[in-house]
């Protein structure tokens, strides 16, 4: 309630009269108990496996055998990490994940660069240059983005075999580039259509051609979407398992396949710490991108979630 004097002489401004004292405690209202209780359970479900993974990867095997799953390591050791990286056995070879890591890198970089280069040009052509048949092409792209890849797996094996690329990294790069193309083209098209058309028209009037407009107008204005597309492709290709196991041979298996083989190899005792360290190592690239790029990562994943 505002006192009459304060209203009459605003210059002196008497203190307001109203409720005093500390803010009422609402900490244990029923609503808050509900919220915190639910969130606690949710956190348990989502965080516990991650926590156990990290803790286990830092323990030595004798300590793991004692049980105490949830206890933090008494003695932190990085030996499991070293072993997972360089000497863990898959049943075929014993050089750990390092081989898979380099294979993944060799698959990842060319396919990301290729698919983004082609898809961005296509998206630009679709968005800005009206031409006959664009609608049909567009529909094919959407169908291509959503169709389940199971339907295409075996015929692609045949095609790659005919081309002499079956079992090679080049073949896998080709497959990843093509499969990423529909969704990436749609992503770029949608972004380019949101750029005001006046810019495009002004550039045309000034005499810029197809490539001039692409490199001088579109590219500099669309860095965020390039980052999103890159995140989509990097995480998608890095985490891929099916294509890797089908289209390459054991020497060239990507990291995820190598991880699965290390974990499922039946030689000797189960080394939980090495398995967990290997999982963490495999997840390191996408997790690093996640922590660096934040919101853009979410956009990239959300854009890629619909693809077939």
């Amino acid at each position: 309630m505002i006192s009459a004097t304060a209203a009459a002489s605003p210059a002196t401004r008497a203190p307001l009269e109203g409720p005093r004292g500390p803010k009422p405690r609402t900490r244990f209202s029923r609503r808050n108990i509900f919220i915190y209780g639910t969130l606690g359970l949710v956190a348990l479900y989502y965080a516990l496996p991650l926590y156990v993974m990290i803790v286990t990867s830092l323990k030595g095997m004798p300590e793991i055998r004692l049980g105490n799953v949830f206890a933090p390591p008494v003695e932190i050791t990085f030996e499991p990490w070293v072993k997972a990286w360089s000497t863990a056995c898959t049943g075929l070879n014993c050089d750990g994940l390092s081989r898979g890591f380099w294979n993944s890198v060799r698959i990842l970089i060319p396919s990301v660069v290729l698919s983004i280069a082609i898809a961005s040009v296509n998206g630009y052509a679709l968005a800005n240059w009206r031409f006959r048949g664009a609608d049909l092409f567009f529909t094919i792209l959407i169908v291509g983005a959503f169709i389940p890849y199971q339907v295409m797996i075996y015929p692609i094996v045949i095609i790659l075999r005919e081309m002499g690329l079956y079992g090679s990294l080049t073949g896998l790069v080709l497959v990843h580039s093509v499969f990423g193309m529909p969704i990436l083209t749609l992503l770029f098209r949608n972004y380019f259509t949101s750029i005001p058309e006046e810019l495009f028209k002004a550039a045309r009037v000034d005499g810029a051609g197809f490539w001039g407009i692409y490199f001088r107008i579109m590219l500099p204005m669309s860095l965020p979407i390039f980052v999103v597309a890159m995140i989509l492709q990097v995480t998608g290709i890095w985490n891929d398992f099916l294509f890797g196991v089908i289209y390459t041979k054991p020497d060239l298996y990507p990291m995820t396949v190598q991880l699965n083989n290390i974990v499922n190899s039946v030689q000797g005792v189960k080394e939980y710490n090495v398995n967990m360290a290997a999982t963490l190592l495999t997840g390191l690239v996408p997790l690093a991108i996640y922590f660096v790029s934040g919101k853009l990562f979410v956009r990239g994943i959300a854009a890629g979630a619909v693809k077939g």
Binding site: V42, V298, V306
Partner: protein, 333 residues
């Protein structure tokens, strides 16, 4: 050669090839076929501009045709031929053979179980998490935690959850998280969770829900933020309680987004492969269609039945596919 160098070389060849193609085909069009000079200069420029987009789309059209369109037709063809008879046409024999296998029906049953439970659970938890994290200070931390599994591969998630379900003989200390909790809560003896028929399906589903909740959460959280404040204020003034506000005001307004999230996760579920492959490989009655197909194609080398099962997956996806295409076209006009 060092792998990095090899990768670099592939990029240079790939990108260089593309740029070269774009550049020279463009030059050919402008300088040779429709030169921008002479008596027909106006007509030539118009024609060149009509053709140019197709020139640049050609690599994509070609690749999509070869790798997307042709394989679909080819799979359909393979599903009605037989390997042992040198690829002779056998009609629907592959399909009838498949329908007589109990393992196939097990896969169909499990796929339907996955279909019923995972999208609902992931969307539900995602909605709950989106709503609850919105109003607390450490909400963003919780969000990034829940989203983190999205960054890990399905295989990685499978490995982590294998540790959760790990079981050891009753006389030694348990290492598996679930058994540790189970015994602590008063369970009598450790269970081998992944070999309990029917139940093990649900244990596998938990892994996918764990991964997909983050996706549902971020999309739905954005949708919740987009709800006009006035509608909620009006409901508060009218005396609605938080549950009424949530279910009668907020949820109906984001129904469209909920459907999109639901169908997206449904598409993931229909093709679920990695998790089952890495954790049980379809043993102990956990087979799913995609893994069944992999078994047929690459273990039994029977491409007839394998292609037939691929067509079944295609058939199950088609309704959502059509709906998605319809919506995308409507939206992107």
């Amino acid at each position: 050669m060092h792998p990095a160098m090899q990768g670099l070389l592939t990029i240079v060849i790939g990108v260089g090839g593309c740029i070269g193609y774009f550049y020279f085909s463009n030059m050919l069009l402008d300088k040779v076929i429709f030169p921008a000079r002479g008596p027909n200069i106006g007509r030539n420029i118009n024609r060149a501009n009509l053709i140019r987009p197709w020139l640049f789309l050609f690599p994509a059209v070609f690749a999509l045709g070869l790798y997307l369109a042709y394989p679909v037709v080819e799979t359909l063809r393979l599903s009605v031929t037989d390997r042992t008879q040198d690829g002779a046409f056998v009609g629907l024999a592959n399909y009838s053979q498949m329908f007589s296998e109990p393992k196939f029906w097990e896969a169909v049953r499990n796929n339907f179980l996955w279909l019923l439970i995972v999208p609902a659970a992931a969307t539900g938890f995602g909605l709950l998490a989106a709503q609850l994290t919105d109003r607390i200070s450490w909400g963003n931390l919780a969000k990034s935690l829940i989203f983190m599994p999205m960054a890990i591969s399905f295989v990685g998630a499978g490995v982590i959850w294998k540790l959760v379900y790990e079981a050891r003989p009753a006389d030694v200390e348990q290492i598996g998280v679930l058994n540790a909790i189970y015994l602590w809560l008063g369970g009598t003896e450790p269970q081998t969770w992944l070999t309990l028929p029917l139940w093990n399906n649900f244990f596998l589903m938990v892994v996918l829900v764990w991964i997909q909740t983050g996706f549902a959460m971020v999309i739905l959280s954005a949708a919740l933020r987009g709800i006009p404040e006035e509608t909620i204020e009006a409901a508060i003034i009218d005396g609605a309680n938080p549950f009424q506000i949530f279910f009668k005001i907020k949820v109906p307004q984001i129904m469209g987004t909920i459907v999109v999230v639901w169908t997206t996760i449904t598409l993931v579920v229909l093709k679920i492969f990695d998790i089952v492959f890495a954790m049980t490989n379809g043993q102990w009655e956990t087979q799913v269609l995609a893994n069944y197909m992999y078994d047929k194609l690459f273990r039994s080398n029977d491409w007839g039945v394998g292609s037939a099962s691929a067509m079944i997956i295609m058939l199950m996806v088609t309704p959502i596919l059509v709906w998605n295409v319809y919506n995308a076209r409507k939206e992107m006009r």
